[in-house]
Amino acid sequence: MADPAANLARVSHLRPVPDPKPPPRPSEPGRRPEPTIPELERWATVLRGECVRMLAVAKSGHLDSSLSAADIVTALYYRVLRHDPARPGWPERDRFVLCKGHAAPIQYASLAHHGYFPLGDLMGLRQIGSQLQGHPDMTRTPGVEVSTGSLGQGLSMCVGICLALRLDGLDGTAQVFGLLSDGDCQEGQTWEAATTAVHFGLTNLTAIVDYNHLQTDGTTEEVMDVGDLRAKFESFGWDAVEIDGHDMAAVVDALERSRALERPAAIIGQTRKGRGVSFMEGRFGFHGKPPTPEQAADALAELEAKLEEQTRALQAAGEER
């Protein structure tokens, strides 16, 4: 069995990102705390730090793909999703499907900070005996709706969830959010699912693309250009908007707006791979490569500085108020 404490000791030379505030109370239906945009931005930094530490311990995984998705995933778990960690099976909850399953660390960090499982478990990532598999596994991890990791399948699974919710009369309350990657959009099955979603008249499906323009073998444009994804989704009959996937206010607005739409909604989030760690950001060569201990230390120093800055700004704003 993986011993999270022993794993923590293995990275004691890395400066952990402190968690200066306790995690927010679990969202309750009808009475949900609404973190402000600066608070969400600060949480994104906390989660990014968790990803760096998890990957440094695991010595395996996809860090840059997790970092590009961090702002979108934070907006979802901390503000947009109606969910209850005490009741992962609550039938009326919103569903989140990480179609780009390789970004599992950012989802695990969000789940742990919401109390789906202990924070210390994060350090067991990708190790024997851990519930945190390399890619999300619904049979092992609380809060994971369906297993993903094989690109292209996620959006179809979202369609299936939407259909089931409709049969249960819950499509008016529960929204299904799927987070896709550039790679997902290279898979033909994603477009089968996009066709199906419109044909079946789904009203509670939101697909967010973490369009970070980098994949294993090079830039997405070099490897297999997926082009104008907004136009592609629109041509399939979806409502589609394009936003800066790191602009927290824009991300929250787009996600909330999609909930009100009466047809499938696509949000193309223009992002940068490795966002938040400057030596990694937008640079090719980090996909699927864990950080070296030195890189991890540098990344954590940068994220910690950012966190201190964000925390100070929040405190100052609080005093003004």
Binding site: P91, R95, D137, M138, T139, E145, V146, S147, T148, G149, S150, G152, Q153, G154, S156, M157, C158, V159, G160, I161, C162, L163, A164, L165, L167, D168, Q189, E192, A193, T195, T196, H199, F200
Partner: protein
């Protein structure tokens, strides 16, 4: 609950369609999906009866399997049907991750298995699906012998709530079971007892194996035991070993590649626990061809005569290679 038993030859896929309607009446959570083959697979019967719970996904089988995963993860009981070639071949990865890995209660109704679908030829004749599905952890593989057993198999798949691959056929086939059996039992039924040789058959080859046993008795005075393996995985090893230890030689018969199919399933058990000669009737290292269904079966020797001839070869070899059992059946 099961529908009426049939007496005249009829295709096993019709049992799927009929049982599906029964299950739909019984449980509102039952939903059916198809990929533009609803008439062929007979899921159309469910679609006509419960249009709100029927999802035709068009010619996009991979998408269909993943949609079923989402439905099952949200409490539904999906039945997905299409041709075996697409269910097990095209959508393998989707079946693997979304259905088998998650151990979701999803039933795959794969019709038109084997070469007996006939004229469409090699592109549509699925002869590797039992091997592919048998290789998947947590997946059950069931190949019923006739309409009546297929009806039970469909209901059994629902009741088991386990990921299940059901293989059905296109052509009308003779009735083997007079009534709809109460249960699939261990997955193997001994349809005829005998002491000289074991004929292990599945699906469309079961009635042919019974005919072969009759011919062997009549022409050669050989008493053949006939086993109908409806559930190929998990395999009831005990019944296989019990028969092998009695007869000391066997012929398997399947409308499928012998590699990874019933032949290998039986040989795996025998090789480990009771090695005896096991000959196989099935598809070799070859693809199917166009022709009428029956002509295709003839072409590849998938006939009662093919089984009987193979049995005669095996019986020649039996005194040379067989020896007293190393372990009795009680050993298992």
């Amino acid at each position: 609950m099961p529908a009426e038993a049939k007496r005249e030859p009829i295709a096993t896929r019709h049992a799927y369609g009929d049982a599906l309607v029964e299950l739909g009446e019984h449980d509102e959570a039952v939903v059916a999906l198809d990929a533009d083959l609803a008439v062929s697979t007979q899921s159309i019967k469910f679609g006509n009866r419960f249009p709100d719970r029927f999802f035709n996904c068009g010619a996009a089988e991979a998408n269909m399997m993943s949609i079923a995963c989402g439905l099952a993860a949200t409490g539904k009981r999906p039945f997905c049907s299409t041709f075996a070639i697409f269910a097990a071949g095209r959508a393998y990865d989707q079946v693997r991750l979304g259905i088998a890995h998650n151990e979701l209660p999803i039933v795959i109704g794969a019709s038109h298995g084997g070469v007996s679908l006939g004229e469409d030829g090699a592109s549509h004749q699925m002869i590797e699906d039992i091997a592919l599905m048998r290789a998947l952890p947590r997946m059950r593989v069931v190949v019923p012998a006739d309409y009546n057993q297929a009806s039970r198999a469909t209901i059994d798949a629902y009741e088991s709530a386990a990921p299940t691959y059901l293989r059905f056929g296109r052509p009308s086939t003779p009735i083997v079971y007079d009534e709809i059996p109460e249960t699939l039992g261990s997955g193997i039924d001994v349809l005829r007892t005998g002491k000289d040789i074991t004929l292990v058959a599945t699906g469309h080859m079961v009635w042919r194996a019974l005919d072969a046993a009759e011919a062997l008795a009549h022409d050669d005075g050989v008493e053949a035991e006939v086993l109908n393996v409806a559930r190929v995985k998990p395999l009831d090893a005990e019944t296989v070993l019990e028969s092998l230890s009695k007869t000391g030689v066997a012929v398997t018969a399947e409308e499928h590649r012998v590699v990874g199919g019933l032949a290998d399933a039986v040989r795996e058990v025998a090789a480990e626990q009771h090695p005896v000669p096991i000959f196989a009737v099935g598809m070799g290292d070859e693809f199917g061809v166009s022709g009428t269904g029956e002509a295709c079966m003839e072409h590849f020797g998938l006939t009662a005569r093919g089984i009987a001839d193979r049995a005669r070869e095996a019986l020649v070899l039996k005194p040379i290679v067989s020896r007293p059992p190393l372990f009795g059946p009680e050993w298992t």
